[in-house]
Amino acid sequence: MRKVLSSAWLGIVLLFMYLPILLLCIYSFTDSSTIGAKGSISFQNYRTLFTSSEMLSILGGTLLLAFGCAIISTMLGTVGAIGTYYSKKGLKQFVTTANQIPVVNADVVTGFSICVLLIVVLGIDKNTFIPLVIGQVVLASPFVYLSVLPKLKQMDHHLYEAALDLGASARIALIKIVIPQIIPGIISGFLLSVTLSLDDYFITTYTKPATFDTISTYVVNATRGSHTEIKTAFWALSTVIFIVIICVVLLGNHLSNQKTSEENDANDI
């Protein structure tokens, strides 16, 4: 009985989380413009998604911004974490606290404060994309820092000293010894940065050039109007994103399973 009840609860919550997305996926393959209405099968939404120049430029802009900001955030956060890890206590305390601010702060406040500093006080032109990129890096790099730090704590520190003793320069020792040991943290920080940027609405709205739109800002503006064609094209986009994420998750699961089974094999030996 208990087992049935617990499974039922998990089922209900999963239904709540997935029913809207799944319905949207199904209706994206029809010519209906409201969910629940009758329609016939059509690929018009996908045609609009992949051929309309407006759609393509939004998609391209969003992805370019996400990956560009993720690369900057990853470099900044990783190097920052390494440097801070070896710094004196006071500085470490400062970085730990300052790093926590964008993490706990509301995105609206972060976006607004960066907008006030860069655009209002310093007068930087929004159209240069500088405020937008800085805003997103402020959002993402603390998370890179937080995902690299635990790997640094687990690292074998004698290897770095040994490399220096054997005549490696600090730069070589860093690239060949430190980075390979913390690479899992760097990768997860990078992926986190990409998702944060793709998901962001508030920082983007407050710092973006007026004519530039990401998926988030465009969807929010589009739902205020009633452009049916674009509206249903977003259903197709949701379907594509959903399928891509499922594939990435399955692949990731498969890889980590393989890794653990290899480790188990090694343990058996």
Binding site: T34, Y86, V116, S141, I241, I245
Partner: protein, 263 residues
């Protein structure tokens, strides 16, 4: 002599970045919150906030929305996290991933999906603005509540539960005296993940046709009106709320770790 950098010098760019783009913006909004349009010192923004019925009403409404959302998320997520943490299924990690996946889909696209379904069920979304806002927020933030609760409940030592049962405790006593206190850190971090976004994420309200303002909407409207001074004051109020929440949750966690050290 060739210049050799040491490892600690690597923190210079990040420290400079944090000072310039994290600390400085906050100082700038503090300055703006306490000056008027001509740059003269004033506390009228502050007194204006606390004497206007509009802004106080907004603060109350956002608190109501945030408390309700956090409560609903907690009630839904706690059993989910507990069942997942205690299940002996081999594929547990797959099941957990299913609950986390929605976090990776753009939240505006997910809200569009929810909105379509709610429109199908209710006909006109504007009929139940409060209910729909809570549903939308719960839909958006639920994974952020499940994950920390799951992490906390995974650490729960089963032998403690067995000991409690052996000593004659009833199921409800075990839950109230053992499971709940030990999962408090998870509950606290879940609350901090959900409460503040619920006070500020005005996109959810807009999409659900809820025309009542929350704190985030105020910043949005001052931003659209180029009123940096009043907007900064709202940001300061929100920062104060964040500070209180963080301070309170740190208090909880420190108490915990002290206790752990004593044991």
């Amino acid at each position: 002599m060739k210049y050799r950098f040491t490892r600690k010098q690597l923190c210079i760019p990040y420290v400079a970045f944090l000072i310039l783009f994290v600390i400085l913006p906050l100082l700038v909004i503090c300055y703006y919150a306490f000056t008027n349009g001509e740059g003269r010192f004033t506390i009228s923004n502050l007194t204006g906030f606390f004497s206007s019925q509009n802004t106080i009403g907004t603060l109350a409404y956002s608190t109501l929305i945030a408390i309700t959302t956090t409560g609903v998320c907690l009630l839904i997520a706690y059993p989910v996290a507990y069942i997942l943490a205690k299940s002996k299924l081999k594929k547990k990690s797959v099941l957990l991933t299913l609950f986390i996946i929605p976090m990776w889909i753009n939240f505006t696209l997910r809200l569009v999906a929810l909105k379509e379904v709610l429109t199908m069920l209710e006909g006109n979304l504007a009929m139940y603005p409060f209910l729909n806002t809570i549903i939308g927020m719960t839909y958006d933030f639920l994974p952020f509540m499940i994950l920390p609760l799951y992490t906390a409940l995974m650490k729960l030592d089963d032998s403690l539960l067995e000991a409690a049962y052996d000593l004659g405790a009833s199921k409800s006593t075990v839950f109230l005296k053992v499971i709940l206190p030990l999962s408090t850190p998870g509950i606290i971090s879940g609350i901090t993940m959900v409460f503040l976004p619920a006070m500020t994420n005005y996109v959810i309200l807009d999409m659900m046709y809820n025309s009542t303002y929350i704190m985030g909407s105020l910043i949005g409207s001052y931003f659209n009106a180029y009123d940096w001074n009043s907007g900064s004051m709202i940001a300061i109020v929100l920062l104060a709320i964040i500070f209180v929440i963080t301070w309170a949750s740190n208090g909880f966690q420190e108490e915990k770790s002290n206790r752990g050290a004593l044991l």
